[in-house]
Amino acid sequence: MKIIKYELLKIVTNKLFIFIFLVLWFINFIFLNYHNYLVPENDISHKAYKLLVSDLKGKNNLDKGIFINDLYQRAKAINIIYNIQNYRKSDNPLMREYADALRDENKEIYNMYYEESKNPIWKYTGNSDTELVFLEIIKTEYDIVNNYHKSLNNILDESKTIENVSIFNSNDNVSLKSISKTSDVYRSMLNTEVNYEVGKTVEKITSLNITDFFVLIIIFIFSMILTLEEKEKNLLIIIKSTKNGQFTTIVSKIVALFISTCLICILFYGMNFLYYYITLGCGDFFATVQSLSMFTLSTIKVNILEYLLMFFMSKCLYIFLLSLLIFYLSIKFNSISEVLLILFIIILINFIVYKGVDVTSNINLFHSFNLIGLINTNEIFRIYDNLRFYNMIVSKTSILLFLQVVLIFIFIILSIFKYLKNMNNDLRVNKIILKLKEFKLFKNIRFNSVFSFEVYKLLFVNKSLMIIIIFILFVSYNFKNQNFNLSYNEDFYKNYMDVLSGHLDKEKEEIIENTLNEYDKASKQLSEIQEKVKSGELSNIEGMIVSQPYEDVLATRSIFEKIEYKYNYIKENPNASFVYDTGYNKLFRVYKSVDFYDIYLIIFTVISILALFIMEYRTGVIQILNTAKNGRVKTANKKVLVTVIFCTFLFIISTVTEVIGIYKMYGLPNMDMSVISLEVFSNLPSNMSILTYLIVFYIVRYISYILIILLVEYISLKFKNMIFAFIVSIFILLIPFVMNIINNFQVNLFPFFNISLVRYNLAYFILVPIIVIINVFLYNSVVKKLE
């Protein structure tokens, strides 16, 4: 007991951990409040739901239906009335005619709601359009729940039909078994009672992915602190005691891990629960979970409250599994770089499995059972399903939970064994491992310079050679899986631009004018046909058939608008010419400031260089370094040089694959033309060619990348602790990027990574000297820090 307390105390007294925890907790809270602004779904406020929930409270399902239906009919009717009134005001006589027809059609409701429509009260949202959207959502939900038994019966009937048919071709025995198993389960659900509940609250509580993300970060830091910190500080010797004592220690660690996992989950998911409970309100927590439209196909027999508990416990299970994985890895491997790397590979493999295994394949168990698939806890319970592993079929819910528990036990046992073995490994038993450790690539090599030693430290001691190999594999895998096919629209655009490519001349002008004329003709023909249909000269069907060819012609009209726009632009700017620009827009990050390439690059950069700058401090060799002639400034200089060279490789690999990818897909034509041919860059000097701009773009990117390297080094020297340096670097570098991708912010927090912002304002070029100055400053502080 005491040891558990001690382990927990170690966490609680770790100031930086607490700090990060509080920051994330706070961000989560902010996020809850601003979620709607960041990712707007619609204008419906939480208040609307809350009000409706309280209006529905205490009613039975039938009354709820009547209540919702009345509201919905009213909103719809008043909306129609508004439409009629608007059409009436139109200048177009046809529209006015249509308005009258509409009124006649809806005479009854028109008269009924006409008075009210003059000054209606929109109780929930305050305006007619939103109210209608809101009530539509609610009504759809209600209908789904209300038809619960009907849809169950449908499923049962359907499966019966399939079973009957399949008697004759029973070669797919397994799917048949799955179908009959499913129908058995649904049959047992027939006597479930449903009483509609507004689904928003539970939906929100159970599907906020950003919280998962935060919890994972916390868990990550946490598991590392429990193991690696200790290793780094060489405390292991102190704990080394009796075998019994070691066993107690490791078990306490695992218990502490479990307790804290639960606590962290309670604090984070509890906050979400409370927040949505308060802002969205809640109906009857004791209604069956099938009363929520989201869960009508679920076959767990619990009420909503119980479901939320199950959700929470499954979440804890998953998080605990992950933390045990990290925990085990950090016992097994000695350096944080290794742990990070292995973890990255594991997640990558899981991701490939998740993406690669099809839902319908005969091993679809692995589509759900992997670290990526399991993160959506709702998916475990939402719909009854059978998962297949070759000829075995098992119910999704039970197998996923069962396998997680099994894995947890496996990791616990592995961790205990590994820990005990680590403790007693003075006599190294494993001869093969010993041999491998003895294997020396540089047995007879002598180095004569500080530089070569820094290279050796980076590539071999810190395993960055492995990292760069993995990076290459990773990038090539990505490249291989890239889809190089153009969409129909893109293909049309590309073909046209290929024809027009180059300076505008008479011939091209003619082509464009001709195409435009064709479009005009086609649309004229179309409207003539419509007239004829209206006057009765052609029947509806005849009209459709006759207009088909013209509609085909016009289908590409909207794409051609882009070309037309370019045409007009070139007429105004004689220096510009036709350039197929999709590839350039991608390359220059015109519409998206950050690409995934950037993120991979940053992650690999941070992982590979972080350790190098702290290893002297971590090992204590710094004390010798300080007393040696070449130990200070020279070492610092060489370290920076080595990391910059190394990262340049990463940069080149990432850049080259990106450029080749874009080149293969879109091509990068007319590089020698003026950059203003890309009309987004119309404010750049017209005598600058696209190629020149490309070079400038990559030079700026490169020096910005160097800034990132120096920043990581600065941070790592500041903290002198791998875990925190890693977390802080990732925070500072990655979060702006991720935010950028999620929310498509045009305002990039890292503008220097994207000089293409000069298209808004030439003054952005001022960033270049600023980056250079920051680089010099960072370089100086890094060297000083080591001095």
Binding site: V461, T619, G620, I624, L625, N626, N630
Partner: protein, 241 residues
């Protein structure tokens, strides 16, 4: 000649070294004092790992701060705690230290061989340091302190964590070093320096109590005993306070 003048150093408001004054000439010195006396702090200041608050350290009459790298050229240091790269082989580590100390390229090979022999690590010099025992780690650190033939060598707790057999080996090793240089051995273990040190510096709570030969110390503090008794008589009442 190493001369320390009015040296003070504190951590926060805790004075760790109080007005240290002494002059050291060629020969072996033992710096004796219990844990927390300030030995490592003093050694770290001499080796320019730390800065003093006030006072100065002179090497042959010149401030070491002004000498900078030319002082570091004649310095060898074995810090307290086994600061080593586990991923390096012993050979590689010595090679690295030689490069850091800018031992001439042509001499590196012979220097490594010389120090390896003198610490008796020939058999395991090509093994990874991570596989070394505690005593081997201490010996490789000693080797790295004496590589390049420095004129001032400082050992901080060279026998910490060693078993008695290893301890005697390390002591013999230190005793065998040539006497044409200044060697300082900081320790709280009396036998480590007994019969070896020309002079003994006694450090108590940051104050340099004595700087004299062990015979004189025995005369003064424990006329009928040995150096161990001197240590007890100086420091045991200190603990009572």
């Amino acid at each position: 000649m190493l001369e320390i003048k009015d040296l003070n150093r504190s951590y926060g408001n805790k004075l760790v070294l109080k007005n240290i004054n002494c002059k050291l000439t060629n020969g072996v010195y033992g710096l004796l004092g219990p844990n927390g006396a300030g030995k490592s702090t003093l050694m770290n200041i001499i080796t320019t790992n730390l800065k003093a608050d006030s006072g100065s350290i002179l090497w042959n009459g010149c401030e070491i701060e002004n000498l900078g790298n030319s002082f570091r050229e004649i310095l060898g240091y074995m810090p307290q705690g086994q600061g080593l790269y586990n991923g390096f082989t012993g050979y590689m580590f010595l090679n690295y230290i030689a490069v850091l100390k800018s031992v001439p390229k042509a001499d590196i090979k012979s220097e490594i061989e010389r120090v390896t022999k003198s610490v008796n690590l020939m058999d395991s010099i090509n093994k990874k340091i991570g596989t070394y025992s505690g005593g081997m780690k201490q010996r490789i650190l000693i080797a790295s302190a004496i590589i390049g033939n420095p004129k001032l060598i400082i050992f901080d707790e060279p026998t910490a964590g060693l078993d008695p057999k290893e301890r005697i080996r390390v002591k013999n090793l230190l005793g065998s070093l040539a006497k044409d240089k200044i060697i300082i051995i900081a320790t709280h273990i009396v036998p480590d320096i007994e019969n070896m040190a020309k002079n003994i510096l006694v450090l108590k709570n940051g104050v340099l109590l004595e700087e004299t030969s062990s015979d004189k110390l025995i005369q003064k503090y424990a006329p009928n005993g040995n150096l161990e008794d001197v240590y007890m008589s100086i420091f045991s009442n200190g603990e009572d306070l």
